[in-house]
């Protein structure tokens, strides 16, 4: 960590977004993570994405659980709302908040421990419900805050800093999400912002549950030789499948794509994702094929990254459609609508008699 605050001075010609803000206006508090932590890079990518989307800070909700990763919500968009929940219980808080107000953008930041161990049940149900949020896992394969034990995402054969070898199979959040019917599944790498920033932008704009599993090396406990989640290993073994360029509604597509190379997917708000396949036989809208590909590459020790699956046709309804929540935030509804009154209550109770 560092004890020196980032000074308020900035580059005088920093670009401004539609709201007149620079990237610096989306920063948060001083990070207390280890110097070189992948999580700090992800924080920078979130800052960049929120700036790029011209997100109004007061319309962002930042949710987290417990762990190194869960501290990071304090490090971006200090003007947003934040809730730091009990370990592994972030999805419950996200569900409640989401149900009460669907007008806001929800970003949950969690780690491999918070999501895949203590919070695995909660995580699964958030996917099942197709909760309208971006769920970002900062995945380093290690319990950093408790000094470096293997986490549930540690690969078989990966070695700990002191030399122990992991023998347990990993839980892969991407496979889990595909299996449970997630509508937006991606994997990124903290050291590749060119890939990560558009994924975060698209994930925030996607309606429904968007998962981004970000490989985020732990510089203190898991950046040595023999680790499958070190900077060096990830850089050599992260294979990019599909490049996703995010194009907001206000912007024209300016990049020229080769014919047949790019495919456009419109999001509900009018913005678009342009998918560029790096491999000709890969179809990011085929759930079964995506799962098979991830599994195959995993067995070869490779991390498949990019936009792995997208429910491009919007086949699965999201949480609000299923639950028929009101369009307006609950706090803006008149009391008479919110409260059934004693007569209404009596009617409801009558149903259960």
């Amino acid at each position: 960590m560092t004890f020196i605050a980032k000074p308020k001075v900035s580059h005088p010609s920093l670009p401004r977004n539609a709201l007149g803000f620079t990237r610096r206006d989306y920063e948060g508090a001083l990070s207390t993570l280890c110097a070189g932590c992948g999580h700090d890079s992800i924080t920078a990518a979130i800052v960049e994405a929120c700036w790029g989307l011209s997100l109004e800070p007061q319309n962002l909700v930042k949710l987290s659980g417990i762990g190194c990763s869960s501290k990071t919500t304090a490090y971006f968009v200090s003007g947003g709302h934040g809730f730091n929940s009990v370990h592994g219980r972030m999805p419950s808080i996200a569900t409640g908040a989401n149900a009460a107000n669907r007008r806001l953008s929800y970003i949950g930041v969690s780690g491999d421990g918070d999501t895949l161990s203590i919070g695995l049940g909660q995580f699964c149900h958030a996917i099942r419900r197709n909760l309208d949020m971006l769920y970002l896992i900062e995945n380093n394969g290690v319990y950093g805050l408790t000094k470096g034990q293997f986490s549930a995402s540690a690969d078989i054969g990966t070695r700990a800093k002191k030399g122990d070898t992991n023998l347990q199979p990993p839980i892969d959040p991407v496979l889990l999400a595909l299996d449970l019917g997630a509508t937006f599944v991606a994997r990124g790498f903290s050291g590749d912002k060119r890939q990560l920033v558009p994924l975060i932008e698209a994930g925030l704009r996607h309606r429904g549950f968007a998962l981004i599993d970000v490989l985020s090396p732990c510089v203190t406990f898991n950046d040595h030789e023999g680790s499958t989640k070190s900077y060096a290993y990830t850089r050599e073994h992260h294979e990019r499948t599909v490049l996703a360029d995010f194009v907001p509604r206000e912007r024209e597509i300016t990049v020229e794509y080769e014919p047949g190379e790019a495919r456009e997917v419109a999001l509900h708000d009018g913005s678009r994702i342009v998918l560029r396949k790096l491999e000709t036989d890969y179809d990011p809208t085929d759930r079964a094929a995506a799962a098979a590909k991830v599994q195959q590459r995993m067995s070869e020790g490779e991390h498949l990254t990019g936009l792995i699956y997208l429910d491009a046709r919007g086949e699965r309804p999201e949480f609000h459609q299923v639950s028929a929540t009101p369009a307006e935030p609950l706090n803006s509804l008149p009391y008479e609508v919110l409260s059934p009154g004693s007569r209404g209550l009596a009617k409801i109770l009558e149903r259960y008699r």
Partner: protein, 614 residues
């Protein structure tokens, strides 16, 4: 990810072992002709070590108290702070702080050997260039004689800079330190013939530091008839400085708008003028005077009138009544240069006195043209820009006498360089084989999160210099207008310095490309990108690197991806966060010390080369 292939059209890794690279990063020191170690002395001021700060200054610029008031400050427009926010650090004013608050330094001046080395040097003119030569050579055992035509030493620092800007006491003290080394000063001794001096003086070398003493003339109708009320600026300032004149008319016109003109108009106000107008031929953008000198004159209600070209002196009853001017109109091109001019009419402006301040020239009527000193077509001696030697070996020039009017800080550096040449000449060494400049670096890391310099960015605005009130300052000609910074002002201004000499030093082989430095850099000056041509690199960076005058640092290929770390030096605030956040210490903050050799080092190097006789 595969390693990117190295291509022919890529930039080579920056060679930071060249002393120029880190020197250039210290913008102020790079811009200073004498290479004063500005950040170092500002740090010392911040620590309250005023005497040490003074000595750092004196090493390079010899006259910190004088320059802290009247330097032309090439450092300030260069200062990085001026690019990061609006205004540069008040470097010049801080120099004065060191001089104002220092203690006695007599004990810290070099010891002058009692046994001389047998070499005698003549310096002509007791101005800043000659005095610097004496300051550098006396500690080596040289016998230096300075010939001065006037009865006072100091040259134009005394005659042309008014005492309300530079008090005589400051001049006497700083020059006194040099004279006390045992310089043989001959006042009122005008050299009439260089031939005679060379033949009879018995000197091993002659240094000409006689300045540019001739004010330019304006030959217009009526000039001769109005002679009693038309004055040449620099001569008039000299007369005022020595009290030979004590009055001037109520209405004064100053012709010209350089720094001498500013001194003339402000001096006029102190000699009884009520209405002073400075007449400029061109618009304000073309003024030669420094912005701060213009400001100070305008504060004293001097009126500056633009686009008036002098046409004639107008007389009434045989006495000057005013001047006739052509009213000018200019057309500018896109780059702000004048592309066409027109006269749109004429205007008469009444005046009791006119002062001409349109430039000055050097004049050498006392140098015979057959001595072997070659003069060029402008009748100026040919002087080598490195050695300051003329075409006659053993005769050196410096200050305004060498390349025409510049300012004190240039003359000081000329003096330093000429002293090296004189020493090498006297030792029978090649003048051109001088010691090269060098740089040493030393880490500022003290512990896990400790750096031995103040790296907090202080968001303080430039402090304003307090002035004597407008009512008070005209009571006498020598009331110094600027009061100097208070201790609080000095403390705050010192914190504005960005410590550009604490360099960001990168080691490519240690980098794991985690992006930590890039994410934390407050001014977005770092990027990891694929190598390319410089233009491509500038376009690939995180924030636009649109100032081509500032270099890009390009690292060797990084181990994991073969990309390069690029740093745009332009706006780096040297906060050290890149080094603080780097998990592998690939970045470090290291203080650079630029070695700019003076004759002392040169002499030591020559001494070490000599065979030891047992």
């Amino acid at each position: 990810m595969c390693t990117l292939p190295q291509q022919w059209n890529t930039v080579d890794a920056t060679d930071t072992s060249r002393p120029d690279y880190y020197h250039r990063v210290v913008d102020c020191q790079w811009a200073c002709p004498a290479h004063t170690d500005v950040p170092e002395y500002i740090r010392l001021i911040a620590q309250g070590r005023f005497t040490d700060a003074y000595m750092v200054n004196r090493h390079s610029n010899v006259f910190p108290g004088i320059l802290g008031r009247v330097c032309d400050r090439p450092c300030e427009p260069a200062c990085r702070r001026g690019r990061v926010e609006a205004k540069p650090v008040a470097i010049c004013r801080l120099k004065r702080v060191a001089a104002d608050y220092r203690q006695d330094i007599t004990g810290r001046l070099p010891k002058i050997p009692k046994v001389k080395n047998g070499k005698r040097i003549a310096c002509i003119g007791a101005g800043c260039a000659s005095l610097t030569v004496a300051n550098d050579l006396m500690p080596l055992g040289y016998e230096v004689t300075i010939f001065e035509q006037l009865e006072q030493f100091g040259g134009l620092m005394r005659t042309n800079i008014p005492a309300f800007r530079l008090p005589a006491s400051v001049l006497d003290e700083e020059i006194g330190m040099i004279l006390a080394m045992g310089v043989d000063l001959k006042l009122g001794h005008r050299i009439e013939s260089l031939r005679k001096l060379l033949a009879d003086g018995g000197f091993d070398a002659v240094f000409v530091g006689s300045g540019a003493p001739k004010g330019k003339e304006l030959s217009l109708p009526g000039r001769e008839q109005a002679a009693a009320n038309v004055h040449i600026g620099i001569s008039w300032l000299e007369s005022a400085a020595f009290g030979h004149i004590e009055r001037i008319g109520e209405r004064v016109l100053i012709i010209g708008v350089g720094n001498t003109a500013m001194d003339c108009c402000r001096t006029s106000l102190r000699l009884g003028a009520k209405q002073v107008k400075v007449m400029a031929r061109k618009p304000r953008a073309f003024f030669k005077a420094s912005a701060w000198e213009l400001e100070d004159a305008e504060e004293e209600s001097v009126e500056i009138i633009v686009n008036r070209s002098p046409k004639a002196f107008v007389l009434e009853a045989g006495r000057l009544a005013g001047m006739m001017f052509d009213c000018m109109e200019y057309e500018m091109d896109a780059r702000g240069r004048i592309s066409a001019e027109r006269v749109t009419g004429e205007e008469f402006i009444p005046a009791d006195d006119v002062i001409l301040a349109i430039g000055q020239e050097n004049a050498f009527p006392w140098i015979e043209r057959d001595l072997g000193i070659r003069f060029d077509k402008w009748n100026v001696p040919e002087v080598d820009a490195v050695t300051f030697q003329s075409t006659l070996p053993g005769v050196f020039f410096g200050g305004d006498a060498a390349f025409g009017p510049k300012n004190i800080i240039w003359a000081v550096e000329h003096g330093h360089q000429a002293a090296i040449s004189i020493h090498r000449h006297c030792q029978g060494e090649q003048l051109t084989e001088r010691l090269p400049p060098g740089v040493t670096l030393q880490s500022r890391k003290m512990g896990m999160h400790e750096w031995s310099y103040s790296n907090d960015y202080a968001p303080v605005e430039r402090r304003l210099m307090p002035h004597v009130s407008l009512k008070e300052r005209f009571k006498k000609i020598n009331i110094e207008v600027e009061l100097g910074f208070s201790a609080e002002q000095a403390e705050q201004e010192a914190q504005r310095c960005l410590n550009c000499d604490v360099q960001t030093v990168f080691s490519a082989k240690l980098c794991i490309e985690c992006d930590a430095c890039i994410d934390i850099c407050p001014v977005d000056c770092l990027s990891i990108v694929a190598n390319g041509t410089e233009a491509q690199l500038r376009a690939r960076l995180k924030a636009p690197a649109s100032n081509p005058a500032q270099p890009l640092y390009v690292s060797a290929a990084l181990p994991q991806t073969g990309r390069v770390m690029v740093k745009d030096e332009d706006l780096c605030v040297h906060c050290g966060l890149c080094a603080e956040r780097c998990p592998t210490a690939a970045w470090d903050m290291q203080k650079s010390l630029i070695h700019w050799p003076h004759v002392g080092e040169e002499a030591r190097a020559l001494e070490q080369r000599k065979p030891k006789i047992a």
